[in-house]
Symmetry: C2
Subunit: 131 residues, 2 copies
């Protein structure tokens, strides 16, 4: 039961060091806490302005929202459309690439939903708390 690797699509899980590098980056930067939440909100609402995102992402600071959006833009996950009006109007939307990352991460969401009880039980056991 340990040998079951993941070979659904292609040779993806292989030992390509460049893929490994990207995955490490994904875990560490692209797919950090805020990125995932922004991605989820954009996936739900389609196009949103800065303020709208700030209101919906729940707990994010202006600074982190800006930073996160810049990273996502750099990685080709979102488009940033500036309308030269006053007061400024900037719209953000997911690219197909961004949407596909969301779908990829959906597997983790499903896992979390499916195994939540089990993880919490394991923690209680480990911590020696009563059942």
């Amino acid at each position: 039961m340990g040998d079951v690797r993941c070979d659904d699509d292609d040779r993806a899980c292989a030992d390509d060091p460049r893929v490994e590098t990207l995955v490490t980056e994904l875990i560490g930067r692209v797919a950090d806490k805020w990125t995932m939440l922004v991605l989820e909100v954009l996936d739900e609402h389609g196009t949103l302005r800065f303020g709208g995102l700030n209101r919906r992402v729940a707990g994010i600071s202006q600074k982190m929202l800006t930073q996160t959006l810049r990273h996502m833009e750099r990685d080709g996950m979102v488009t940033r459309t500036v309308y030269p009006v006053i007061p400024p109007r900037v719209e953000y939307a997911l690219t197909p690439l961004g949407a596909s990352l969301g779908e990829a991460f959906c597997g983790v969401w499903i896992w979390a939903a499916k195994h939540r009880e089990r993880v919490e039980a394991a923690r209680r056991l480990f911590d020696g708390r009563p059942t």
Copy 2:
């Protein structure tokens, strides 16, 4: 092209706050950088000792390996088997739960393999570097 949510399995991606909490924890703690790398190595090699893991995980410090293994053990991802011999011998192996998380994250690996070029191209474009 923006409405495509992820409804592969069940109502997983829904708005259950407990799931959201767990996912946030997953991204932030359970499924952090080192956890994923340890998980991958254990999935490849089956059972490994502390030293073997330390040698194979590439760049991890002793402290972080210990910490990561403790967290994974607490979450029910790995088993820790101590043999009371001198010098000490401790073996680590994935549980079925741990293996299933690896499979869930495999979607991200596949995504990374499939879209690596695209992400790197987007970055070059954003950074204004030559093609």
